[in-house]
Each structure stands twice: as C-alpha cells, then as structure tokens.
Symmetry: C2
C-alpha cells in the first residue's frame, strides 16, 4: 500500500483481550466489573434519549461531567479533560508531548498499549524493568523522556508505587509523568495530590470501577495550563451525549460505587487466599485482578483447560518475569466456579 | 508549560460552531438535522441498555454495523472502518499517512479542521483555492502531498465536484485522495465507486443525514488493505455499544432516512428561492445548508441581527471569496421564522 507511514506498516497493532460474542462464557480476562453500573446511569441515559439531544452536537468539553468530577475529586473543573475512554486520553497525551523521533518511557511488565502509542507516533519506546518486588529502580535510568507512563496500580501485577517513590520519580524526570490510574479506585492510595499541584498528570477510566467499559469514558486531571493544550489536540466532540450523561450519573452515585467496590475488594481477598491454597503464588493486588504464577508447573495448560471450561483469563508471559495468569475479580458466583474448575484441573 | 510540542503550543485550536445551552434558539449554524433520528434508533438504544452490555467492552471493529453498512452501500465489510464521528476518521487518516513535516492539501474555502489536523501532526498544510465557480484548478498544483482532502459536497459552498474531475484529481495526486462525504446523502452523486475500486478513501458521517450528531458516529470506506493499516492507528474501542447500536439501526431504516432527506431537499429548494428573492446570491447547494452572499450590503450585521432574534447562522469570511452566511436547512417552521426575520431586517 503506497503512502502508509513506515512506522505504521511495521506495527503489529495492539490486540485487545478476547471479547467472545456467545453467552455463557465467564469473562475474567479484561478486568470488566462483574456488576452492572448504577441504576442512576440507566435513568440518566433514558432521560437523554430525546430527538433533540441525539440530533444536536454534544457539549465539546463536558461541562456538567467536569463539575461533578471536580466536586467529588476535589479538583478544579478546568483541570479535567474528558476522553472517549482513557485510551483516548493516552493518545491525546502522546500527541501533545511527544514529537516524531521522541521518547516514551514505560515500565515493564505493564500495559503494552504504551508501546503501541509510541509506534503510531513514530517515537522510541524505552522500557524500564520493574525490580523483582515491583518497585521502581533508583536512580531512574531514563530522565530525558518526552513522556513517562506509570500504570498505578500496575497490570498485570496489581501492585502500587507509593507517594514517596512517585515523588522521587517526578524529581528525576524532565518531561511529564503520567500516572495511569485506571485501577486506582481499587487501591489504598492515588496520585491526585500530584495532579492538583501540577506535578503529574493523572488519567482515570470509568470502565472498571464504574462498570462502564461499554460506553467508553475516561478523563485526565492535570494543571489547567496543560489541559488547555490537550484540548487543542482532542477531537472537538470526542464524547457523546449518552456517555456524558452516563458518566456524570455514575460519578454522582458514590454510595453505589462504594458498595460495588467493597464487594469486589472482599472477593479479591477471598480469591487470593484460595488461589494460594491451590498452589499459586499470588501477588497482593490493589486492583480488580490478581496476578497468579506457579513455580511447580507450567501455567499455559491451565489457561487452556480453563478456556475449555468456558472460563477466560489472561495468559501473559514476560521474559525475565516468567509467565502467569491475570485473573479479573469476578462476581462471587464466577469466582466459585473458577476455583472449582481450577481445583479439578490441578488435582 | 515545559514539554508541550511547539506545534501544539503555537496552535489556536479548532473552534466548533456555537452550541448554546439555553432553549428557544433556532440553530442553523452547525448543519444538524432538524428532525429526530429514526424511532428504530431509540428502540435499539433501549434494547442495548442492559447491565451486561454497558459493563463489557464493545466489539472493537463494529462487526454488525459494518455488515449493515456494507449491504446498504454495496461494499465489502472489510472495506469499512468505524469512527467516533468522522472527525475521528480524519484524525486516523492523518496519522496513518502523514509524517511529521509531511504535507496535507486541502481546498479553500473548505472545512478548516484539515488545517488543524496538519498543525497537530506538525505537518504542512497547503491550501489550494477553488476556482471562482467552485471547480478544481487544472492542472492540479500540489501533486506530492501525503494526503489530499476534498470535502464533497464542500462547505461553505454546498457545491460538488463531479466524478470526471475527481478522476482527474486522483490521477494527478501521488498520495491518497480523501473524499470527505459528510454531506453526500444530500447530493445527487457520491464517490463510493472510487472507494470500491481502491482509488480514493471515502469518509461518511451519521451526524447530518441520520440526525445523530449527539452520538458521534462516522466511518471510512477504502481498500481493505488500507483499512487494515488504519485499524492499527485507531483506539481499540473507539465506538461505544450505544452508538454502535444507534448507528446500525439508523442505517437499517432506509425508508425513514429517505423521507427525512427528501423533506430537507424540498425545504432547501424553497429557502434558496426565497433567499434569492430577499436579495441574496445563493450558491445552488447539494448539502443541508446554503451559502448566501450579498453584493449590495455587508452581511455581518445581518448575522448579528439574526442572533439578537435568537437565530444562529454561521458568518464566514474568506479572503478572495468575500464573506457570507452559511445557513443550515432547518425545519419548515424554523425556515419560515428565519425568512420572516430576514425580511424585517432587510426592509
């Protein structure tokens, strides 16, 4: 194909987790929330289903959503940028800060989309390995990146980097540090304080903790001067009227959010213990998934046997870190079934 | 702000048309459809409002939408790429074909977003002026562009370039030609034949002819080999479950689509004649708006007086082409009101 940029042609392309179309599959592979979104989300969408709302363009900056999120997160509404999923925000960040031939740093093992974003931008990706205990190396080895991505909590490990280590990282990086907090609602800490003081850029997703993967909504929190630049890069109308209504209603209903989150955390505790009893090494998780490894037997056959039983988990293999299963925290029923099948497979 | 790319910092940013929040404004400034989308769109959205659909990720490639669109447009489903509005498609095209320092060609006067896309990509924009009769210059002056955008029908003129002139343009361009057909459903011809044979890339929007500006949906039709490359550049889940359901239902209901379109075309004919009677030079339009100029008096005061009467139209001023009003084809009631107020203003 003539004209395609060589960096794009050379890409394999990011491959998202499997999305089976048939029913009856227990999906523990893409960290979706096992519970539905708040009933108020459905009400808000229904109220927006008018001819006038659908036929007219949406509010380009999502004013109502930003007011709600600003109040709940205790930040300035001007410090928030709306995104069509947090992937949209990560793309906007890349285009705002990283020139062709520039440098993006991500940790490894982590979210592999960061490398795809670098490939699309024709930038270099530098992968900094986590230490074996999932802490950051010190001193930080790449200080002159245009953008440094830290998924916190990280995937697949579910671990978090604490505030003092983030502070040290920020001090060592010339370019901005992005704290990708897609899973932060399941953790005991977050980096909003760094966003409030303009020291880092925080990205959030409503896909996981608010059970809205299907409607695509994420946002960034950063210094308003940074948000103003990112606004120039985003598509004018990147969020639609229904997802704006859904996202605003989801954030408004903090009681529902906390109830669902607490259920997921309780299930996470239980499944961690039971997976350990079944012989897995389970990294203590601060996300809605757990990273399970084994030293006594290969895990890929376990993944395949689970799939035969219509249970999807994510098999991942990282040179230097070994392979493992990343298992989403499902409903209690789903996790009971997983544990029963695993028990069969392993004995 | 350290780290922001100089090309982004230097940008003014694309400013979309005004979206007043208050009720009672007659909006003839952003070419929205004056009629609601098909009732089947509302049914399809309501049927998708389940906890499972909202909490799970959508189909990344919109298989069902592509099957429907392929059948209706008589193209291969693999020749279609889904987009979060056709602006998303234009962004994906830019990133697929145009390197930093590359060259984008657009005509002028035309859709000014093309220049913003070049600025974000840190590429050069070359603006080729239309001839005074809104035809293309021949020979074509910039043959080595990475991407050439032709809005067809064009905005603000509402004019179309016919197939033989498009064929000549394609033959003269080394890089791909994009036919931006956001308004093609209101025209007597379109460029799908060029997309089917791999000679051009066609982009479409559901915002105008399908009355879905609020849900953000557009798509590209191109050679499947090009679509495969563009797939690598798009965000994995760029379209949400509700907009996919809405877009599919809208395309399925071709009877409704034709009824609404025919009403708009009838209103366009009527308003063109009456605006001419009021002393405007109205360019014959093949879109859902008309471009109105005057040689006898300035038009900006007319725009301002209309705004005082809560009627929004678009005032545009292009050096070398003069200024004018781009007025969307509203409902018959809206156009009656417009014509009555104009008659008052002008006499």
């Amino acid at each position: 194909m003539p004209g395609i940029r060589p960096n794009v042609r050379a890409m394999a392309g990011y491959v998202p987790g499997e999305q089976p179309r048939e029913d009856g599959v227990i999906k523990l592979n893409t960290n979706e929330n096992p519970y539905p979104p708040s009933p108020k989300v459905f009400d808000a969408i229904r109220q927006t289903l008018t001819g006038d709302r659908l036929r007219k363009y949406p509010d380009p900056t999502g004013t109502q959503f930003r007011k709600t999120a600003a109040r709940i997160l205790d930040v300035d509404p001007e410090a928030i940028l709306i995104g069509n999923g947090s992937d949209d925000i990560l793309t906007i960040l890349t285009r705002t800060f990283v020139p062709e031939g520039g440098c993006i740093v991500s940790l490894t093992p982590s979210y592999i989309l960061y490398a795809s974003l670098a490939e699309i931008q024709n930038a270099r990706i530098e992968k900094v390995p986590f230490q074996s205990d999932w802490s950051l190396p010190h001193p930080w080895p790449v200080t002159d990146a245009d953008l440094t991505f830290l998924a916190n909590p990280n995937s697949p490990s579910g671990t978090v980097i604490d505030a003092s280590a983030i502070q040290r990282l920020i001090e060592q990086c010339q370019g901005p540090v992005v704290l990708d907090e897609a899973y932060a609602d399941f953790a005991s800490c977050n980096g909003l304080a760094f966003a409030r003081t303009g020291k880092a850029i925080v990205t959030r997703s409503l896909s996981k903790s608010y059970a809205l993967a299907g409607i695509r909504f994420g946002f960034a929190v950063a210094d308003p001067a940074i948000i103003r630049e990112m606004l120039k890069v985003k598509d004018s109308y990147n969020c639609d009227v229904l997802s704006l209504a859904a996202a605003t209603a989801a954030l408004e209903d903090q009681n529902y959010f906390r109830t669902v989150r607490d259920r997921i955390l309780a299930t996470r505790t239980r499944m961690t213990a039971q997976l350990q009893e079944l012989g897995f090494q389970v990294t203590p998780s601060q996300a809605n998934f757990v990273w399970c490894q084994r030293s006594d037997r290969p895990v890929k056959p376990i993944y395949e046997r689970l799939k035969e039983h219509r249970i999807l988990v994510r098999y991942m293999n990282y040179p230097g870190y070994g392979d493992g299963l990343r298992i989403s925290v499902g409903s209690d029923l789903e996790i009971d079934r997983l544990l029963a099948v695993l028990s069969d497979i392993l004995t």
